[in-house]
Subunit: 226 residues, 2 copies
Amino acid sequence: MPRILLIEDNPNFGYILKEYLSLYDFEVTLATSGEAGLEELNKSVFDLCLLDIMLPGQDGFTIAKEIQRIVPDLPFIFLTAKALKIDKLKGFRLGCDDYIVKPIDEELLVARIHAILKRSVTIKPEKSNYKIGQYTFDNQLQTLTFQAQQQTLTEREAQLLTLLCQHENQLLERKYALQTLWGDTDEFNRKSMDVFISRLRKYLSQDNQISIKNVHGRGFVLEVND
Amino acid sequence: MPRILLIEDNPNFGYILKEYLSLYDFEVTLATSGEAGLEELNKSVFDLCLLDIMLPGQDGFTIAKEIQRIVPDLPFIFLTAKALKIDKLKGFRLGCDDYIVKPIDEELLVARIHAILKRSVTIKPEKSNYKIGQYTFDNQLQTLTFQAQQQTLTEREAQLLTLLCQHENQLLERKYALQTLWGDTDEFNRKSMDVFISRLRKYLSQDNQISIKNVHGRGFVLEVND
DNA sequence: AAAGAGCTTAATGAAAGCTTAATGGGCATC
DNA sequence: GATGCCCATTAAGCTTTCATTAAGCTCTTT
């Protein structure tokens, strides 16, 4: 169920819109001010943000910028009564993903939300606990547990395993991983990464439902058969 | 320089829009009918498609569907004079990425194009799944699955099969494939391509509803009988 | 029937990947 | 400031993978 943060200062309108979206199987959190919205963002994870431009006090663009700073990848849609051209452009320059003018055509809004969600990559939200077959991996404590045995991973091992978990049964591109963890994709780092892959394989070897497969020239897949 | 395919039946308007977009550093190809547009799609690679809904003869939605079948990941924007709600929804269900009503606010159009291109670049890890008869082909993981058997394809095999899938039941021109994958159409690469075609045929031989047919001197067709 | 295009199997060599072991910098403890 | 440990990196030697090349054949076209 996609989670939507709705930032809308008019409580009546906000409530109605929230109810309406709930009918379409969205989980909607309503914040009635920009500040409240930012707080919610820190509390939980959302897939999309609906933002009223005409907020009292702070204007919506400032909030939008703030949101982008905190959660750069969160797509958002502007809601506004003002149909001025300047607003539209400002919105898109900010990286806003779409734009809806009030009075809102709800069906159109739902369609746009779906369009945007469909596009945004399904990278799983950051968790600190992963189940990998019979193993449990705690990303924060850097521990890997199999039945009664628990071992502590080093920082790099944990980072790499986290990336693999986030892409479980999907390709983790070598370049992406190198760029993310090492900041550079040169030959030395590639070899270093190989060493860590090798270690992780050893750690995970007790459950043969799990394997880290290589896709030649592209990257690795953490395969888990359920 | 982003490449845009503009499908617009009114040559005057099409020309003006093309020139305007060129000013913004887009490389625009103008097609004045749906058929011409589809032809262009087979000839070269585009980043985005602008499609006039009100085409003569065939209606735009049919063309849109066709485009999606050929190049599933190509984002497109509908242009239309008709602002009916039914159109909007139909468009979004088709996976249309945005929607602009004539008369066009050019600056807004440029802004939306940028917004969409920015997104489609970030989504890069292409996650396309193709069904080929009883086979399933995962382009990302480079796996080909038939019933319970799964095999991993090499990079070139996967690339070539992707092209064939994109042109299912249509001619994949030899030159186009060579240019796209090898960057050169010389004799050696042609022979190399033959080897890959041969391998793909072997992989796909378990379902006799499927075949890769040769069109002498022109290219290959991935034939699937439904 | 000749020439070019296409087909298939096998050989080749360079690049990528794997694993174990060695190295040495950083950090805490004494 | 010396000692020892941890851990990322580097090294080294090996195996695997895969695009290409080669070779010999058949099919298509004229």
